[in-house]
Symmetry: C2
Subunit: 334 residues, 2 copies
C-alpha cells in the first residue's frame, strides 16, 4: 500500500503515525504532507526520517490511499488531486461527510457502505463515532425513540494549538492567581473553565458540531428519522471526549441485557461499578482503542429510557484508528 498523510504533524496525524505500525496495513511507501510552515521538517516513523513534503500534485502520483486530517478547505482541494491520480482519500474533515456519494463509515457499523464510493470516504466527527456505536449496539434489541446527549469535549479535538492554549492559560493561573488575557484559539478562556460552544452557531441556535451529531449519526445508522438533541461543551481536558447520553426506547429496557449487548459489541468495553469507583474518565481512556461505558442505569424520569457515560479517545477511535480500520477493510475486500 502506497499511503499519503495530509496533516501529518497535527494532533490526529501524529496519532495516525503512532498506530500505523501496529495495524494490519502493509505500507510499502509513505508520504507525509502538512501545512506550509511544516514543509521540510523531519518526522521519525519506524526509525526512519520522513520529510514533510509540499501538498502539490506530485504528492499524489502513484498513491493508493490518502488520509487527510486537515481543514474542510484543505480536504476539498486534496480530494480533487487525489481523485485525479486515482487514490482513495479517507477524510477526517466535515467537507464531504453528508455527500450522497461519500460513505461515512464506522467499520463496526457500516463497512459494507465502502463497496460504493467516488474516491472519497469520510470518517465521522469525533463525538459522533462513540454515540453511533452505542446506538448501533442497543438497537439490536430496542427501537430508538429519542436521544439527548451532553458532551464534555477535550481541546485536542481542536488541534495542537488548543492544547497549548489550555496549558498556557492554566500555567498563567497557577503562576499568578489571575486569568490570562491571552487567547487565540477559543473565544473564551478554556483554562479551568468551560465553553458551551463548539463550532459556529446555526439558525436553529444549535451549533454545527451539535447538528453533526444528529445528521452524521442518522447517515451512519441509515436511520433518517432518528431524533437526537446534542449540547456540545469544551472542557479543560487534553484528550478524550466524554458524553452523558440519555436514550429513550419504545419499551422498558433491561439494564443488565443492555450492559451485555454493549460489552459484546466490537470496540466497546463496559467499565461500570460505581460502588467500587469504576467508570471511565478521560485520563483512563487516553491512548486506548476501545470506547468505554460507565454509569449505565435506568432513567428514573422515564421507564423506557436509560442513562450512560462514555469516554472515547477523540484522536484514536474518534479519528486515526477509525481511518486505519477503514483502510484495513479496503485491503481485505481488495
Amino acid at each position: 500500500m502506497k499511503l499519503g498523510i495530509i496533516g501529518a504533524t497535527g494532533a490526529v496525524g501524529k496519532v495516525f503515525l503512532d498506530l500505523l505500525p501496529k495495524s494490519k496495513l502493509n505500507v510499502s511507501e509513505l508520504r507525509l504532507t502538512a501545512s506550509e510552515r511544516s514543509i521540510g521538517k523531519k518526522i521519525k516513523y519506524n526509525n526512519t526520517d520522513y520529510i514533510i513534503q509540499e501538498n502539490s500534485e506530485d504528492f499524489y502520483v502513484g498513491l493508493d490511499y490518502v488520509f487527510s486530517s486537515a481543514s474542510a478547505e484543505v480536504s476539498k482541494k486534496a480530494a480533487e488531486k487525489s481523485k485525479k491520480h486515482n487514490a482513495i482519500m479517507i477524510d477526517d474533515s466535515s467537507e464531504f461527510r453528508m455527500n450522497e456519494d461519500v460513505p461515512l463509515v464506522v467499520p463496526e457499523i457500516n463497512s459494507e457502505s465502502l463497496k460504493s464510493h467516488n474516491g472519497v470516504v469520510a470518517i465521522p466527527n469525533c463525538t459522533t463515532t462513540p454515540l453511533a456505536m452505542i446506538l448501533d449496539a442497543v438497537r439490536s434489541e430496542y427501537n430508538l425513540k429519542r436521544v439527548i446527549v451532553d458532551t464534555y469535549q477535550a481541546v485536542s479535538g481542536t488541534g495542537n494549538l488548543a492544547i497549548k492554549e489550555l496549558l498556557d492559560q492554566t500555567k498563567h493561573y497557577l503562576d499568578n492567581g489571575t486569568i490570562s488575557d491571552k487567547k487565540n484559539v477559543y473565544s473564551h478562556n478554556i483554562g479551568l473553565n468551560l465553553i458551551p460552544h463548539v463550532e459556529s452557531p446555526l439558525d436553529n441556535l444549535y451549533t454545527k458540531e451539535e447538528m453533526k451529531m444528529l445528521y452524521e449519526t442518522r447517515k451512519i445508522l441509515s436511520d433518517p428519522e432518528l431524533k437526537i438533541s446534542a449540547t456540545c461543551v469544551r472542557v479543560p481536558v487534553i484528550r478524550c471526549h466524554s458524553e452523558s447520553i440519555n436514550i429513550e426506547f419504545d419499551k422498558p429496557p433491561n439494564i443488565n441485557q443492555i450492559s451485555k449487548i454493549l460489552n459484546q459489541y466490537n470496540g466497546i468495553t463496559v467499565l461500570d461499578d460505581i460502588k467500587n469507583d469504576l467508570y471511565p474518565t478521560p485520563l483512563f481512556g487516553e491512548g486506548k482503542h476501545d470506547i468505554f461505558i460507565g454509569r449505565l442505569r435506568n432513567d428514573i424520569s422515564n421507564e423506557n429510557a436509560i442513562n450512560l457515560w462514555v469516554v472515547s479517545d477523540n484522536l484514536i477511535k474518534g479519528a486515526a484508528l477509525n481511518a486505519i480500520q477503514i483502510l484495513e477493510v479496503f485491503e481485505k475486500i481488495g
Copy 2:
C-alpha cells in the same frame, strides 16, 4: 442580630463573611467556629480580627441565628445545641433538608415556608438551587413534564482541600508532563480530567447528589410528582457549577417568551447570543450573585422541549448568598 457561623474557614464560610457586610443584615455580634484545627486562628472581618472559637455549648448562648456550612454530622450536633439555646440554624448540609418540619428554601421561590419551622431551616444543594429557580420561572407559563440535567461541577463544592488537589495535580502535569499519583479528596485525578461521580452511589445506580436534585427540587417547588433525571460530573474548574438542562413541557414552548420569563425572574440573568460568543462560563459567573442562562433553544428532538445552559456560583447563590437572603427574610418578617 447576633449571628454564629459554623465552618467559618471553609470555602462557603469565607464567601459568607465576604457577602455579609454588603447584605441588609445588621449584625451586632458575630461568633465564628470551625473544625478543631482552626480553633484559635484569627479571621479578619470588617477590619476587625475574630478568633475561631470552640464549637461548644457556650458558642450558642444568646445567639439569634446560626449559619452552618459543615458536614451532615457536625450540623446534626450543632442543631441540637442551637435549638437548646433558641437560635435558628440555617443549614447548608444535607442532614435536615428532607425532614418534614424543616423548610428547604430558595427565597425567590418559597420564602413563605419560613413561617413554620422547628429551629432549623435548610438551604438546597448547590446544583439544586439554579435548577429549581429555572423551573419555577418557566412553570408560570408551562407545565413541567420531565427534566434531564447533566452537571459540570466545580471542585469548590467539595471544599478547600479539593481546590488544592485540583491545583496540585494540574501543576504536577504542567511541571512533569505526567499524571500525579497523589489524590486524597477524590477517588480519581481531577486535574485535567473529569469524574462522573459526585457523592456515594445508591441502589438505583444514581448517586446521592443526583437524587438530591430530584428530591430537593420536588420539595422546593411543592411538586411531588416532578420527573427529573440527573447525571452529576465533577470538572476541573475551581468555582461555579454549570448545568445543561433539557425541560419537556406539555405543549410547544415559545422560546422568546421563555427567555423573557427567565430574564425577568429575580436572580436570573439571560446572557444568550451565541452568534456574538455570548453565553455564561464558570470564569464569568465567579463572584456574581445572579445565575446566568445561555444556549436557550427549542429541542429539535421534541417539539415540547427546550435546552439551556446555566452557570451559578456554587459558593454564592449555591450556598452563602441563599443563606443570607433567608436571614434577610427572617429580619423582615420579624
